[in-house]
């Protein structure tokens, strides 16, 4: 009775997939960025911190493809090294917020009742604060650097993951296969952790990749404000900050290069995330 007939299935069949080109292109971009970050010392033409007063604000030249900044440091090299913190931060945030969020969401969705209500209100409170604000607070309390903002961002993003997980688990809980496990004599904890959790993880995971881009932009903003990674370590946000002075003098390149890097990676990650959640989760909006 509830089984769709063939006609319905045919009419419901997904349309021919579009956007494969942009998906593959995004994967390539991300792969190149990751490789650049991992092998930065081998690829970068210069030491990112090497000061060269002979070549201050040099435009694009054969020696410096993307020019130099106010201290004569090679922009390309700094961008390549900057990719390390730029990618590492969001990666840590996405992984930790996904783990914490899935566990809390599973607890809320599976147990329901007062646990669900209490966790739900706690999430609401965290939602009320912008992630950036929580990160700034963490920096004020624990000092500048990468660690405090990453922990703060993980806390700020966990409720997004938890809320999605909770909804998925709650709907999964009422499905007959869960009742079938119960009738067979399996314990609730076993069903939740060993059977329901693996069934919802792919969907949640695909959604979480979308967070990567947001976190990257926000961490860059934080170091632009001087609260993130500290000088002289190369970082995209910090580079934009340092290049501000040059903008007045008409030297755009040192600011535009890291800014473009942020935009390109964020767009690439979002394309990948959306495609993944389309393929795995049937396009549940974040």
């Amino acid at each position: 009775m509830t089984t769709p007939t063939m006609a319905v299935k045919v009419l419901r069949a997904p349309r021919v997939r579009r956007g494969n080109i942009s998906f593959n292109l995004s994967l390539a971009v991300l792969a190149v960025m990751t490789l650049a970050a991992v092998f930065a010392p081998l690829i970068a033409p210069y030491d990112p911190d090497a000061v060269d007063f002979a070549a201050i604000y040099s435009g694009p030249t054969p020696a410096h493809w993307l020019g130099t900044d106010a201290l004569g440091r090679d922009t390309l090299s700094r961008m390549i090294f900057g990719a390390r913190t730029a990618l590492l931060g969001p990666l840590l945030v996405v992984v930790s917020s996904t783990i914490v969020g899935i566990l809390l969401g599973l607890l809320a969705g599976w147990r329901g009742g007062w646990i669900d209500s209490v966790l739900g209100r706690i999430f609401d409170v965290i939602f009320a604060f912008p992630a950036l604000l929580i990160a700034i607070m963490a920096v004020a309390l624990f000092g500048k650097g990468l660690v405090a903002p990453v922990i703060a961002m993980s806390i700020a993003y966990a409720p997004f993951v938890a809320r999605l997980t909770r909804t998925l688990v709650a709907s999964e809980r009422s499905r007959p296969y869960v009742a079938a496990y119960r009738v067979q004599g399996f314990s609730g904890g076993w069903i939740a952790l060993r059977r329901v959790l693996p069934n919802v993880t792919p969907i949640v995971g695909a959604q979480s990749t979308l967070n990567f881009g947001y976190v990257l932009a926000e961490l860059a903003a934080l170091s632009f404000l001087g609260l993130g990674v500290q000088a002289p370590t190369a970082d995209w946000g910090a580079m934009i900050n340092e290049a501000q002075a040059g903008l007045m003098g008409g030297y755009f390149l040192p600011a535009i290069v890291p800014a473009m890097a942020v935009v390109i990676v964020v767009v690439a990650v979002n394309v990948i995330g959306e495609e993944l959640s389309d393929r795995i989760g049937g396009g549940i909006p974040a």
Binding site: M1, T2, T5, M6, Y177, A179, R182, Q184, G185, P198
Partner: protein, 572 residues
Amino acid sequence: MTLLDISRYTLDLPDGTRLLDGVSLSVAAGETVGLVGESGSGKSLTARSVIGLQPRGATTTGSVRLDGREVLGAPVGDLLTLRRSSAGMVFQDPRAGINPVRTIGDHLTETLRLVERRSAADAEARAIELLRAVRLPRPEDHLRQYPHELSGGMLQRVMIAGALTSSPRLLICDEPTTALDVTTQAEIIAVLGEQRATRGMGMLFITHDLNLAASICGRVYVMNAGRIEEEGDARQVFRDPQAPYTRRLVAATPTIAVAQPAAAGTAADATTDVAADAAPAPHPPVDTAPHVDLSPPVDLMLDVRSLSKTYRMHGKPPVHAVVDATIEIARGGALAVVGESGSGKSTLARMIVGLEAADAGDILVDGAARTGVPRSRAERLAHSRSVQMVFQDPYLSLDPRIPAGRAIEDALRLHSTLSTRDARTRVLDLLEQVGLGERHAPARPRTLSGGQRQRVAIARALAIEPDVLVMDEATSALDVSVQAQVLDLVARIRRERGLTVLFISHDLAVVRRVCEQTVVMRNGEIVERGATAALLEQPQHPYTRLLLDSVPRPDWDLDALAAIDRTEGIPA
């Protein structure tokens, strides 16, 4: 004059799959034509093609002429005209086909106002007239109601009224009663028949139910795998099928006719044997327990005493799902619980398997108390060894991620201390018992057919070696031929293992094949109980009679049915 004429119609998907292969079919004005087939036979696709609803990108050859005009390749404008004037369609699930946030009045008057440019008052008057025509009790009130306020049967009448607004010359009904209870089905069929007669419409009636087709159609076409297998006079096809496929289908279709010997099919033989063997003797042939035949004449396996369950929701009157239900099944016996949706039969099953707690009453399985939801590990395991359940929809009751063999192995290892190798051997053994093989063990549910999935579910239940097997509508989601196979399987397992079965169903014909004893439930109460054959031949309670009269048969008398409907006044 021919209203619909489909000739050598072939439909291919862009990937080359041929869904329809040389379908030819015709419907004349005033005629009811049945299109019968199992799921995937292409019957719905054929019907949808008539109003130009082909799948995207499909290539078609042949012709589909409606009211003298070609539908295939017709421009969108012409299709709209055809849909507005020539053909109306009634779909299977009325709740899915109506906008839940708009009133019934909106739904019905929309076409009249926008297409026929009638004034609001005029459209409303016409809508009331239509609602009266489909015999809804209070047409004026219904116009202001929302879909959720109406029952499935009432909503299907609204959908029929909606299809009739444009006074179509051809009415296409795509399984219009499949989602409905059998008594509601009878009412809907009566309404459809009446409208067809008064309007002189042609009707193309699509169904999987051969009994239903034979009872209301003049001619039928039997479809299988995109081809027409047989066509001809409905009763002729039903009584004396020519094509091998139709013969198999007729043999597999359960019937409630008691006197008539089982149709000349292999499928029916095995099951009738069981019923015949078990009915006269108090004990079934296989009975391993040595009897101390002193006090209890019958050895009760399942003993449910005065079980009750009431659901209380905020701001609503309490729902008495099960009221004082008492059932007994002897060791190795099979009892059917028959009832329509909302009769409480599923709640009864869920209490017995420990998914829900009872408000009052006791459940004993083989003398051990099994009332309530088990809490501790020991309770859980004991309960599940007492009772196992096979669920209605095998598409949902198997974990989509877990391969068939693994699902059975999990259940085995929870209840025993078998080594991995022994467990694997046992899994293959169980798979073979339900008619599957080694190659099905690594298969995920998605790659198995409905019947195969239900076999896996049965094997999984048997792995635990329960005392009682509860089957909750376990065959109602399956095609008739698959259903027959699964029923045969259950009969064989009963013979071989002496398994005690509680069989929950809405389908009296299926029950007749499986169970010696039957109870009939209505609104949470057991209204009649007895031996299945006796109950079907001489029903005592008026509700049982109504149920029996509502089951479509080739010699179905619609007028008598309508008379019963009116005198009994069964409330919704």
